[in-house]
Symmetry: C2
Subunit: 162 residues, 2 copies
């Protein structure tokens, strides 16, 4: 695919995020399963429900732009999740693994935070006012999910791992 | 390497960030070279100087912990930068490439933001009070670099790309 304009770049990035959200929806149940703390397991299950909402919102965004939803392979989220898997395999006890699961999930959240931030800036520039509320809602939820994970680590998980 | 405690995980993540900062120090000059806007070229050159400071701070952190600086290969930052390179190759005009360079650099910044955030939470839990100022200073600079790139996009680069 050749990218010749900001509009092309915007669509490419939308497809990249669509791939990332779908991959995350596949990996979150595995992360929930690997969690030993109930609060962490619940956090992953709640974020899976949110991630499915984000995918539906992207479906709406593609529709508003007169396009079919499409995913573009995203080496960044693949690298982030590959690193998470390699790390989890090296960990020999459950409480340390819980702390690593939080860090890995926060890395995935931050990838989405940066991409939605970029998409919002470009959508504003391109005059795609109608899709901005969808993108902003998802960005707010990703930031909230990241903060919840950080607090869960600080309030419960890290102390048990230390 | 087997990780059996939060302390092990902390060291592993420090080595991961050390790898990421060093890779970024290699890639930033290429990103500056690929920029067509002078303001963007300058932003990358300024951030290269900051990145070198972050590496020196990590050297100090390793020293405080009685360890030699060591890098652990980090598939996450490799994936983020691989995605950036693939994307830039697909772009056929300089002004669109500038917008993509900002997005790519912000993705790298966000990776560092999440990792330093995690390192700070774990250092607090582990009682490594002496290294906290170093980690906090770098985190503040990464957040500032991310905001500067966002504003540069919104104020100058995106409009030229659209």
């Amino acid at each position: 695919m050749s990218i010749a304009s900001l509009e092309d770049l915007f669509i490419h990035t939308l497809e990249d995020v669509y791939f990332a959200e779908n991959l995350l929806a596949k990996k979150l149940p595995e992360m929930a399963k690997k969690s030993s703390a109930t609060a962490l397991k619940n956090a992953f299950e709640e974020h899976l429900a949110e991630t499915r909402t984000h995918i539906s919102r992207l479906d709406e965004v593609f529709k508003s732009l007169g396009r079919k939803p499409s995913a573009e392979e995203c080496p960044a989220i693949e690298g982030i999740l590959e690193e998470a898997e390699e790390l989890l395999e090296e960990i020999t006890n459950a409480k340390t693994r819980d702390a690593a699961l939080i860090a890995s999930a926060q890395a995935a959240e931050h990838y989405e935070i940066t991409r939605y931030g970029t998409l919002i800036a470009w959508a504003r520039e391109l005059g795609h006012e109608d899709i901005l509320p969808h993108l902003r809602e998802t960005l707010a939820e990703e930031k909230n999910a990241d903060n919840k994970l950080l607090r869960l680590g600080e309030d419960q998980i890290n102390a048990k791992a230390a």
